[in-house]
């Protein structure tokens, strides 16, 4: 075949394709007022849809964060048989997230859960383009004005991490605790600080050494991080990673103890399991979806940066079952602390809170609000590791 004919054919094809693309573009009406909503009775955002979408940053069966989201979406499937539940895994935290959400909207979704911290930008963009769709984001905070069809929600995961810190502080023999984390986002910083303060509350000598992997899930880097911590004499390891198996097994193999995160992984560490913060999104997801389909979203507590903790009840985080290493005295101490956190002035960060550099971060007697904890940008004293790494 001559180069010329082939080139001609390919070129014509390309131009045709482009023409199709551009001509169909010219008829555009990008987003905006109620595209496919079958003229439903109400103009409330999020109503009249046939589906609910969930986007996740990792695989739905990661023994961790995304699995918890998926389990929550399964509850929605059961509770709302009329709504189709569409899930998308491994959605990166860039423009692809917006594209995936758009596709879900096209398939009838009027409610979208964007469940990773880094999905916020895309979620805001989609919400602005589709005022008829409610987009809610898990774990981040909107610092600008919250659109009437947006919101963020999260639980005070640092509270159970504080309780787990108590267990870790009691269990450690070397007084060195290890923390493997991904990125220094406020959520993670609050967890690390709460864990260290929980440990300090029962063991003033306890310190928490931190190592970041710069990835939500890179098992080989996790192994390397765990090895480094263990060789420093750490005997309790916990983590803020989406996939948690590698770190737990590395600790167990070296005879160290583990505090879990996201999921009950006691089966992975029969000897060293202490406890962990475990998610139970079902009830909160159900309530959010119910509020939206009832047309009551705008102005509701979910149309904001919603936070739920021990004092508001229904914390989506529960403490995982205790392992063998936790004795009765420790369990009692945890119960006492939990009762304290459930009071109006209870918090892991009741002042004085002293930051790593010795400055006073929270004045004596002061109780920081949820929002203040969400903005935490310092490590407390006793945490080893630099934040800006």
């Amino acid at each position: 075949m001559s180069a010329r004919t082939r080139r001609l054919a390919a070129f014509t094809g390309a131009i045709a394709a482009l023409a199709v693309a551009l001509s169909s573009c010219s008829a555009a009406s990008s987003g905006g007022g109620g595209g496919g909503a079958s003229g439903s009775d109400s103009s409330e955002p999020g109503t009249g849809g046939t589906a609910v979408g969930f986007i996740m940053v990792g695989p739905k069966d990661d023994f961790g964060y995304n699995q918890a989201v998926y389990d929550g979406s399964e509850i929605i499937k059961k509770k709302f048989p009329d709504l189709k539940v569409i899930t998308a895994e491994n959605v990166p935290e860039d423009d692809n997230a917006a594209r995936t959400m758009e596709q879900m909207i096209d398939k009838g979704a009027k409610i979208i859960f964007a469940t990773s911290y880094g999905h916020l930008d895309a979620a805001v963009q989609v919400a602005k383009d589709h005022p008829d769709v409610v987009v809610i984001q898990q774990g981040n905070t909107i610092t600008d004005t919250v659109e009437p069809n947006m919101g963020t929600y999260f639980g005070t995961v640092y509270e159970p991490m504080y309780l787990a810190g108590i267990a870790a502080g009691k269990a450690t023999k070397s007084d060195k605790l290890g923390y493997v984390y991904a990125f220094p986002i406020p959520q993670t910083i609050a967890n690390i600080n709460a864990f260290e303060r929980g440990a300090q509350s029962v063991n003033p000598d306890a310190e928490t050494i931190t190592v970041s992997t710069s990835s939500w899930c890179d098992p080989a880097k996790q192994r390397s991080a765990a090895d480094s911590l263990l060789s420093q004499g750490v005997d309790v390891i916990t983590q803020h990673q989406d996939c948690t198996k590698t770190v737990i097994e590395a600790a167990e193999a070296k005879g160290a103890m583990t505090v879990g995160y996201h999921a009950d992984a006691s089966s992975l560490a029969p000897k060293g399991w202490i406890t962990g913060a475990v998610w139970n999104w079902g009830p909160l997801y159900t309530d959010i979806v119910q509020t939206i389909v009832d047309g009551k979203f705008v102005g509701s507590e979910y149309n904001a940066n919603y936070r739920v903790g021990y004092k508001t009840g229904e914390n989506p985080f529960v403490l995982a079952p205790y392992g063998k290493v936790v004795d009765a005295q420790t369990k009692a101490a945890i119960e006492t602390a939990k009762a304290f956190l459930s009071t109006a002035t209870g918090s892991p960060f009741v002042g004085p809170v002293i930051a790593q550099d010795g400055s006073i971060a929270v004045a004596a007697g002061k109780v920081p609000t949820y929002a203040e904890v969400d903005g935490m940008n310092y490590f407390v004293k006793g945490v080893i590791g630099k934040l800006s790494s």
Partner: protein
């Protein structure tokens, strides 16, 4: 557009091109090639169908859903066109050096460096200048940075005789680490939170084509295709590159400045890839993030091969790759398959085209 029709090409045949076959032969060969392509692509789809069946997915449903949500939906088509623009530019970055017989495997890194330069420029000038000026500066910065990045490989080839395929490949990872280093520390917008740069000022974002979500990147890409096609087919420079690509030794003996030609091809290639990075940054992402531009360079490298390193077919090849990416969404949302499943189809199609659409005799030339 009509001026770009390849008609004049036959009047100025390149010496390295195979001699034109007599017309009678041509029809037969065209038919043969068509059969080859259909058989190869059919095979790829057949194997993919078998894999789908192995996962209890009905191939017919999967293909229908994918087709409908990819081509029967305006937003999807716009998405394809948006995705296509950086692919096309980065593929041209392979086409130009390939004409001189060089393999630029470094598109991945040149795209990133182009975006880094564009972002750095936007941060440096801030809001002081009008948006259009910032855009032009970003474009220039992206192209210069991409060219310099490729130029490292060019210099190593000319001065040290180190092959460019090796160096461009290595430089990809250096570029990636440069990007990550910058967004983790010096350029980080927020000391806490996930690492990313500040969002590009609104005025400097690439404008959209009227009434669509498509940025002007595609227009830049199409213009680049036409310019590259003209440069390669109708200029002395393009002609000389083909001679060098055909036989560098003979070119040297004929008195062509081989070193300069090789370097210029790599620089132009790098500039095009840098431009791709700028378009992706200022047209789509607006921020540098850890996964920025991932696989644009490699996808474009393969697109260029699919198009046999010819500028105009590159448009079609990139359209196919962009469409496959968008179709991947449907595999996940409709069929519940992992999103990366579409990579299997991409791989199978490439294997079919690379291995079975040309006779083995000329495939490697």
């Amino acid at each position: 557009m009509t001026t770009t029709l390849p008609a004049p090409r036959s009047e100025a045949p390149l010496p390295v091109a195979p001699p034109e076959a007599p017309a009678s032969d041509r029809g037969a060969r065209l038919a043969q090639a068509t059969v080859r392509w259909i058989a190869a692509l059919g095979g790829a789809f057949l194997i993919f169908s078998a894999l789908l069946i192995s996962k209890n997915a009905n191939p017919l449903t999967v293909y229908t859903d994918a087709w409908n949500s990819t081509f029967a939906r305006q937003q999807s088509i716009e998405d394809i066109v948006i995705k296509m623009a950086p692919f096309v530019l980065a593929a041209l970055a392979v086409v130009v050096p390939a004409r001189a017989g060089m393999a630029n495997v470094g598109g991945e890194g040149q795209v990133i460096i182009g975006a880094v330069a564009a972002c750095g420029t936007a941060m440096a000038v801030g809001d002081a200048l009008p948006g259009v000026t910032v855009m032009v500066l970003m474009m220039l910065a992206g192209m210069v940075a991409g060219a310099l990045w490729a130029g490292i490989a060019g210099a190593m080839r000319l001065l040290l005789k180190v092959n460019e395929a090796v160096t461009t490949l290595l430089l990809n990872y250096v570029a990636l680490d440069v990007l990550l280093f910058l967004i983790y520390q010096p350029w980080r917008a927020d000391p806490t939170g996930q690492p990313a740069t500040k969002e590009l000022q609104t005025a400097a974002k690439l404008p959209l084509l009227a009434g669509t979500t498509v940025n002007v990147g595609i227009v830049i890409a199409v213009i680049a295709v036409v310019l590259v096609w003209i440069a390669l087919s109708f200029t002395t420079w393009g002609f000389s590159l083909s001679v060098v690509g055909g036989n560098a030794e003979a070119a040297r003996r004929a008195g062509l400045p081989v070193a300069k030609l090789l370097l210029s091809a790599l620089l132009v290639g790098g500039a095009l890839a840098g431009l791709a990075g700028m378009v992706h940054f200022a047209g789509v992402e607006y921020k540098l993030r850890p996964g920025f531009g991932a696989q644009i360079g490699y996808t474009a490298f393969l697109a260029s091969w699919l198009a046999r390193h010819k500028p105009i077919p590159v448009l079609l090849a990139c359209f196919v790759f962009a469409a496959l990416t968008v179709a991947g969404d449907s595999l996940q949302l409709d069929a519940g398959l992992p999103a990366a499943t579409v990579n299997i189809l991409t791989g199978l199609i490439l294997i079919a085209v690379l291995g079975w659409t040309t006779s083995t005799r000329k495939a490697n030339s």
